[in-house]
Amino acid sequence: MSSSNLISHSTTTDNKLVYMANQIGTFFKSQDMDTASARIAEHIVKFWDPRMRRAIVAYLDAGGAGLDPAARQAVESLRPRL
């Protein structure tokens, strides 16, 4: 079984990831609104393991409820970097 088939994140984990992405967003939005989504994405690529990144992108694909606009844009930009 390849590891990419292992996405079976629970709602709890999804909620946590959304919460974390928004939290990261809050910091970078306070630095500079214009660069926020790029820096959120950079932070996620730097610190989240691939399964967490895949899970948040999958979550966005399923609607992405609760993701703050800057965080949503950041997650969107992760797609080519999965």
Binding site: M1, S2, S3, L6, I7, S8, H9, S10, T12, T13, K16, M20, Q23, I24, T26, F27, S30, Q31, H43, K46, F47, W48, D49, P50, R51, M52
Partner: protein, 953 residues
């Protein structure tokens, strides 16, 4: 067998750079101005007899044994209190002097509890006073040994580790002065006058009941054996109580004290703080000095054990069987669930070399980057915050720096309990006149303690650090207190301007922030002015800063303050994280975080990764791995199935215990390597017995970035040093590791890590210790960082917008719980609970303000239920005004308290460091343990059953 000999120069070293030349016993001697004649003589190899003098203490001049004659001067001055002077001619051994010394010594001996000067009797064999009597040539005591003696209330053996025998006391005051000058507790005094004078602890109390903190400084200072370790008395059965000594590094907190381990065979007789230890300068606390007995505790596990499921009893097996099991299980799991389904946790209690090997095993042997360490739950925000502002993930100073500080901000740290030896050094500086600002929800000891009083205590509400720090910045910016020259030269100017504009916003003013923090605006203003204008300003902080949703932001706010006031890049200033574990700095430096290799270099950086790939002969994954909380989430989700945990007890130390338990329970192979069956081992399938710091060679790195040797003083009782066990696992997994000594691992670290390029065991043997960076540019290390320029080039200011944590109080949970430590216990207590330190702290208590207690009908000592959204536990209450109304506090040293059942899964936005320091709770009277506590206790009992090897099933 050899001993490490330390010379006692009699008085402290003079700091003067001007030298003076004099003649002592016909020898030309040169010494710094202000040096005592006693010290100058000793430095030239001429020993003057002494009783009341020792170089750890200021000269006192009371024993009259060290008298000398100086040509052209009258009388016989004491050499300890008489400074050197140019051209003076000193005689230390004239007939007149020797006669006086003998006479003085004769009086001391007549008052000492002896029947004769004969050294052959049992009682006199170890009488330290007689060593000095011999040295001054005393042959008889004309007054006899039956005369009146000073009062003797009998031996005080109340302290678990040492005794005080008044019969052997000569009232030289060394113990009293050590308690004052070195420890700064002022627990001892001389009571009575003249012949009635006697050492007294507290108000004539037994030592245990006095304010004594059992640091051992008095015992170390005592020249006569009146104060002496019980372990030494027990060993005084043979010719020599100890047969050798070695210098090693304490394995408790991040101060990193050096000790001489005095050994007899494979037994420690005592640990004596080592004067040349640059972190502790000859001082110690109750843990390092005395609490090493856990190494021989009956509960220590010495044989490997396995079990199929966590409901079965443990089965003792051979090392071979245990290691084979680990390797075959990890391989099976990877085959079934994918490469990324396993990982490891390195230990901040183990050596650098051991930590480096565990992360190497995970990255190179397992082929994943799922490796993390306990710094995740303590100082990971320090790493993020300081790396993004200054460019490196560590404190900026050495501990000596505090001697040059004029204003100290202490925020979210309680050094007298958690970093006691640093606290003593800080208190000494405060007694010399430095000012202290304490920012802490709780009135820690340093707010007011003998001869120390904080200029300001800002008792903010838990969770409001960022608001407070930004308000301090507001005052500095708007009142024109910025060190503009420093900022222009050393920092990114545009980023500064952006930040200054933000800081100056009215919403960050002390007046606005007072409503958030609960601290009056005027106090915030005055504290900010003091820090900005009071001379060298140094900030020391602890987990009260990092363990929050905004932990990283608070660290950035601290860095901003230091940059704005120019308090960086020289002695006496800086940003100083007080790190928790003995080697948490080292474990971070060694590449224990999932996203970075040793020396804080990101795993995705091709050039760095390729260097490791060539050295290790294997391809590495370039993606970051899982952090501890992410591992547990992934375990619950079914994508993470196996873990190798070296020396960490995540079940007790990590937040939201139920989630940790669920994560561990969901794994198919949990391997715990530790000294004891810790709480995490309740969920383990393989237990590998670990070794103590006394049983291994290696290095630890303390909070000052100081790399110090740990020396093996005895063979590992479990058979192997921890690094050897990791090698065995790696070899069984098919990734060969062959090292014959940890020094070879350090050579590999140095080869692969630019900041460690100059480090080797040979260098450490030669110079004692070095602070990284240690390389071609700094061959002997770097005591103070960011001199001239920041590691990242220009310092960078970042915006620190305060965001309230989502953990809020409300009608159901109206109080805020914060957590901390106590002096006598260490962290989860795995070691200290297995020593006599339990005499000081048998259980964790809940501190609650009288007002909150009364409202709930809680009396002091009552059992109370402590409940949060996560869970509930019970413990006993202590009613105190140390905590403000609305705030409660507890420690987490005992597993049955289960404080982390209550803490939540909120964490720092940047690093996932848990928010231990803020939990909304309710407190109510209770009759006994919670259901979770009862169930957990039953699980613990079941999971500690062991079937010895060879026993019938």
């Amino acid at each position: 067998m050899s001993f490490v000999h330390e010379i006692d120069y009699g008085t402290p070293k003079s700091k003067s750079e001007k030298t003076v030349t004099l003649t002592v016993d016909g020898k030309q001697v040169t010494a710094p101005e202000g040096t005592s004649i006693m010290r100058a003589a000793m430095e030239a190899g001429i020993e003057i007899p002494k009783l009341c003098a020792t170089d750890m203490l200021e000269a006192f001049g009371s024993c009259r044994l060290c008298l000398v004659e100086i040509e052209g001067r009258n009388g016989t001055p004491a050499s300890c209190t008489t400074p050197v002077a140019p051209g003076i001619v000193v005689h230390t051994k004239t007939e007149r002097i020797e006669l006086i010394r003998k006479g003085v010594m004769e009086l001391y001996a007549s008052d000492y509890s002896l029947a004769s000067l004969d050294r052959s009797t049992k009682e006199s064999k170890y009488a330290a006073l007689l060593d000095i009597a011999e040295a001054v040539g005393l042959k008889e005591v004309r007054y006899g040994f039956d005369g009146a003696r000073h009062p003797n209330a009998g031996i005080d053996a109340s302290n678990p580790y040492f005794v005080y025998d008044p019969a052997k006391c000569i009232v030289c005051s060394r113990c009293v002065r050590a308690c004052e000058e070195v420890q700064g507790t002022f627990a001892l005094t001389i009571s009575g006058r003249g012949f009635d004078s006697i050492v007294s602890a507290g108000m004539n109390e037994p030592f245990l009941e006095s304010e004594c903190v059992s640091c051992g400084a008095c015992v170390q200072a005592c020249p006569t054996g009146s104060l002496i370790e019980k372990s030494v008395l027990a060993a005084q059965t043979t010719e020599k109580p100890a047969d050798r000594s070695l210098v090693t590094t304490c394995a408790y907190c991040g101060v990193g004290c050096s000790f001489k381990a005095e050994m007899r065979g494979d037994e420690v007789v005592r640990m004596v703080p080592y004067k040349d230890g640059k972190a502790n300068r000859g001082h110690s606390c109750v843990k390092g000095r005395f609490a090493w007995g856990y190494a021989n505790h009956k509960e220590r596990i010495l044989k490997p054990m396995v079990r199929e499921t966590i409901s079965e009893p443990w089965r003792e097996v051979s090392w071979e069987e245990a290691i084979t099991r680990v390797a075959s299980e990890f391989k099976r799991i990877q085959k079934t669930y994918g490469r990324e389904s396993i990982g490891g946790i390195t230990s901040s209690r183990c050596t650098d070399e051991e930590t480096f090997l565990v992360q190497k095993l995970v990255r190179a042997g397992f082929g994943v980057n799922n490796v993390d360490t306990c710094a995740r739950v303590c100082h990971s925000p320090t790493g993020y915050g300081l790396a993004n502002t200054f460019g490196t993930s560590a404190g900026t100073q050495d501990f000596d720096s505090v001697e040059h500080a004029d204003v100290v901000i202490l925020i979210g740290a309680n050094p007298t309990d958690a970093h006691p030896v640093f606290a003593s050094r800080l208190k000494r500086r405060l007694r010399q006149g430095a000012k202290l600002i304490v920012i802490d929800p709780r009135a820690i000891d340093l707010v007011r303690t003998p001869h120390v009083e904080a200029a300001y205590h800002l008792p903010l509400l838990p969770g409001t650090n960022v608001a407070m720090l930004t308000a301090l910045a507001h005052v500095i910016v708007t009142e024109g207190l910025v060190n503009e020259q420093f900022v222009r030269e050393r920092c990114e100017w545009d980023a500064f301007k952006h930040w200054a504009e933000f800081a100056a916003d009215r919403k960050n003013s002390p007046e606005a922030v007072a409503k958030i923090t609960g601290v009056p605006a005027e106090h915030i203003r005055q504290a900010a002015r003091l820090y900005a204008t009071g001379g060298n300003g140094a900030i020391y902080y602890g987990l009260g800063v990092t363990e929050h949703s905004q932990g990283s932001t608070a660290v950035i706010a601290i860095a901003n303050l230091a940059m704005a006031t120019g308090n960086i890049g020289r002695p006496g200033v800086g940003v100083n994280p007080l790190r928790g574990q003995n080697n948490v700095q080292g474990s971070c430096d060694m590449g224990s975080f999932p996203h970075e290799l040793s020396g804080y270099r990101h795993i995705s950086t091709d050039s760095v990764r390729h260097m490791f790939e060539i050295d290790w002969g294997v391809e590495l994954d370039k993606e970051p791995g899982l952090r501890i909380p992410n591992m547990l989430d992934a375990a619950v989700d079914g994508t993470f199935k196996g873990i190798y945990i070296q020396g960490e007890d995540i079940l007790q130390s990590d937040p939201d215990t139920k989630h940790v338990a669920a994560g561990l329970a969901a794994m198919e192979c949990v391997v715990v390597q530790d000294l004891f069956l810790n709480e995490t081992a309740n969920y383990a399938h393989v237990f590998l017995p670990g070794s103590t710091f006394l049983e291994k060679n290696g290095t630890f790195i303390n909070a000052e970035r100081r790399i110090q040797l740990v020396r093996k003083v005895m063979e590992p009782k479990n058979g192997y040093e921890d690094w050897q066990i990791t090698c065995m696992i790696s070899n069984a997994m098919g990734y060969p590791m062959h090292y014959s000594h940890p020094s070879e691992i350090m050579d590999e670290i140095a080869r692969l890590t630019p900041t460690f390029a100059g480090v080797s065991f040979k260098l450490l043997e030669e110079v004692g210790s070095v602070q990284w960076p240690c390389n071609e540019r700094a061959p002997l290390g770097t005591p103070v960082m960011h001199i001239g320029q920041f590691v990242r080039g220009k310092g960078r200011f970042l915006i620190t917008e305060y965001v309230a944590t989502d953990e809020r109080t409300g009608p159901r949970f109206p109080l805020l719980l914060t957590t901390g430590r106590i002096l006598s216990q260490y962290n989860v207590g795995a070691q200290t609970r297995r020593t006599q330190n339990t005499i000081w702290h048998e259980e964790d208590r809940l501190e609650i303000h009288p007002h909150d207690a009364e409202e709930r009908g809680v009396r002091d000592g009552d059992w109370v239920k402590l409940a949060s959204r996560s869970g509930e536990t019970t413990l006993r209450a202590r009613i105190t005004e140390r905590v403000a109304p609305g705030v409660v506090y507890t420690t987490f040293h005992h597993p049955n308290t289960q404080a982390n059942v209550v803490t939540t899964d909120f964490s720092d936005w940047a690093t996932n460091c848990p928010e231990y320091k803020v939990t909304a709770v309710q407190v109510s009277p209770s009759n006994g343990p919670s259901q979770w506590q009862e169930e957990y206790e039953s699980l613990t009992r079941r999971s500690r059953r062991i079937v010895p090897a060879g026993a019938a099933e």
